[in-house]
Amino acid sequence: MNTTSLRRAIVPGVAAIALAASLAACGSSDDDSTASGGSSSASSGGAASGLSGKVAAGGSSAQEKAQESWRAGFGQANPDVTISYDPVGSGDGRANFISGAYAFAGTDSALDDDELKQAKSKCGGDPIEVPAFISPIDVIFNLKGVDTLNLDAKTIANIFNGTITKWNDQAIKSQNPDADLPATAISPVHRSDSSGTTDNFTDYLYQASGGAWKTEHSSDWPTTKGETGEGTSGVIGAVQGGDGTIGYADDSAVQGTKLGVVHVKVGSDYVEPSADGAAAGLAASKTATGTPASVMAYEINRTTTDPSTYPVFLTSYLVACPTYSDKTTADIVKGFLTYAVSDEGQKAAAANAFSAPLPSDISAKATDIISKIS
């Protein structure tokens, strides 16, 4: 009796509060959308925050988290700007940029000559291409009783091409005299999908293994042999799921797992993956020759002997036009890209996506190129 009367008293009250709250929520969100709609239609009206409008972009899925943090950071200063980033993959990103569907794109590999030409005719000038995202790639393994391994590029290449099949192989033993290596079979795991991580990892194997890896870099794994995983999470899942597995994945995704990480031989030392090492690796590389001045594409040097560099890393680029027919779009792209390569933007991405901040001279050069957008 007592409880029923209590319930009778409470239920309508709770319902009323819930209703009021939901109505308020509806109302406020309505207000927001009309407000932003109004200002974006007013476009270059010069609101208090400076910019307003919408820009569509997309491409590399590796950049997705970094793009999130850049959008968040840029959005704080420019609340009326909406930038969408669709992680459709680098290939589609470049194609959509060239077709004009995206104002700018993220891509894990630089535009090739054909694409540069197409982009030039679309933009009405040489496109702008700057590095914006560096992420170390870890070689990860799961082997009972072993937490860390030292391997050189040749051994890694021989493991992945199937020449070395047991963990107690002499080539591994000689580099890890202290490790208690079992006779477990090695199961190399690679990506089943097409990815920039594979592209950079195979580039490392090709450049650094001294001929043990025969094929040039490619975003699809060059053989049908070996265990595969779908996406970064698929590879990590597969490496975790078996004993004696070895794979490669972006450093950001490896954080928080209990997998062993290979220390890669650089010069005469064995180097642990690190953001600083990857950034130093990019600084030690040269930009590609024969491209327009606005294109900062790197030919990454994976064979450095400087132990402060870590040679297995991915560089992802931002691609934009030098001029846009619409001034608002030009201002937004310019502002956003400037923020992305700035110290602040790089730090935000590093915190959120575990990427390596761009070295300051590269950042300065990129900012200079971006400043020419009009």
């Binding site: 049908t224 042999k225 265990e227």
Partner: protein
């Protein structure tokens, strides 16, 4: 069957036929039903045309796009088709006996108190999204079943299916087939159950009266009656197994298009659908037309499988009539 159609045609003098208003209703319903049928045909034709137009370049693309396992479209698509068919066949071998068994136990064997919850739970299985099956299959089932696969390899390794180096993660085409089997179980079971329950009571009682055991009654009264329905249920399951994408992509350690009879190794053939899913958003967008062309191959293949099944059913029906 015959008697009902006769009464229907005999009803020319029915009081409903003369009324103009009802004639109008008939026409509306006729138009609605017909247009629904036509829309399906148009949709299918549109999918076909889409795949043909978008995939046209894929039939004769650059050699590199078919690498590393093939050099032209025919061998590329044939190898993928092999993987697709292999996964589906494994799934059917496991799922069909289970589905028929479960359906029979619900319709004829189990007491009602048990049959209703079983039917309910099986139907519930159909509501699980394929990505959940994929996660479960890839992360848990593969891992847990790895020792079983090792056992199969150790003791039955003389069979070509179970030979080779066992995958240490267990993410093999066999497990992909098992996951597919679980996924097609509800639809095949539901349809079999329905048609089993449609068996005329008189046929069953007549069989029992002639001294048949319960199993004999099912064999001689239920199965012949349910044959076409069972085939339809199995075909729907097969269609799902052939086209399933997400679960296979996540479970299977697919090496791309390749032909192998080893079911327990790390090198597994990709299926058409899983290959499309994993390669579509790549660096080289030229591959997309190739993938769409393989989609067309799957479309045509599924069409012919269904066509063949219909033909088999029709032939056996005629034999029974």
């Amino acid at each position: 069957m015959n008697t009902t159609t006769e009464t229907a045609t005999d009803s020319g003098t029915s009081p409903f036929a003369s009324s103009g208003r009802h004639g109008m209703g008939d026409r509306v319903f006729y138009t609605l039903a017909l247009s629904a049928g036509v829309v399906i045909l148009i949709a299918l034709a549109a999918v076909f045309v889409f795949l043909l137009v978008q995939g046209e370049d894929g039939f004769h693309a650059d050699r590199e796009l078919y690498q590393p396992s093939a050099t032209n479209f025919v061998s590329y698509a044939a190898k993928l088709l092999f993987g697709t068919a292999l996964a589906a066949v494994i799934a059917m071998i496991i799922a069909v006996p289970f589905a028929i068994g479960i359906a029979l136990s619900i319709s004829h064997y189990a007491p009602r108190r048990l049959a209703v919850p079983i039917a309910y739970v099986i139907d519930l299985l159909a509501a699980v999204p394929s990505v959940v099956f994929g996660l479960w299959g890839g992360r848990t089932l593969a891992h847990v079943s790895q020792p079983v696969q090792g056992w199969l390899n150790h003791h039955l390794g003389w069979l070509p299916f179970f030979s080779g180096q066992v995958s240490s993660t267990g993410r093999t085409i066999l497990i992909a087939g098992v996951v597919l089997a679980i996924m097609i179980l509800p639809i095949t079971t539901a349809i079999c159950r329905e048609v089993f329950q449609q068996t005329p009571r008189l046929h069953e009682e007549a069989a029992l009266a002639l001294g048949a055991t319960r199993w004999e009654m099912i064999r001689y009264a239920v199965f012949p009656h349910a044959r076409s329905g069972m085939i339809a249920g199995i075909m729907l399951g097969l269609g799902r197994a052939l086209g399933e994408t997400m679960a296979v992509t996540m479970v299977l350690s697919a090496g791309g298009p390749l032909v192998t009879w080893h079911l327990l190794t790390s090198d597994n053939p990709a299926t058409i659908a899983s290959n499309i899913a994993s390669k579509f958003s790549g660096e080289d967008i030229g591959i997309q037309s190739v993938l769409l062309a393989t989609g067309l191959v799957l479309f045509v293949f599924t069409f012919f499988v269904n066509f063949a099944a219909r033909w088999v059913v029709n032939r056996s029906e005629r034999k029974f009539a």
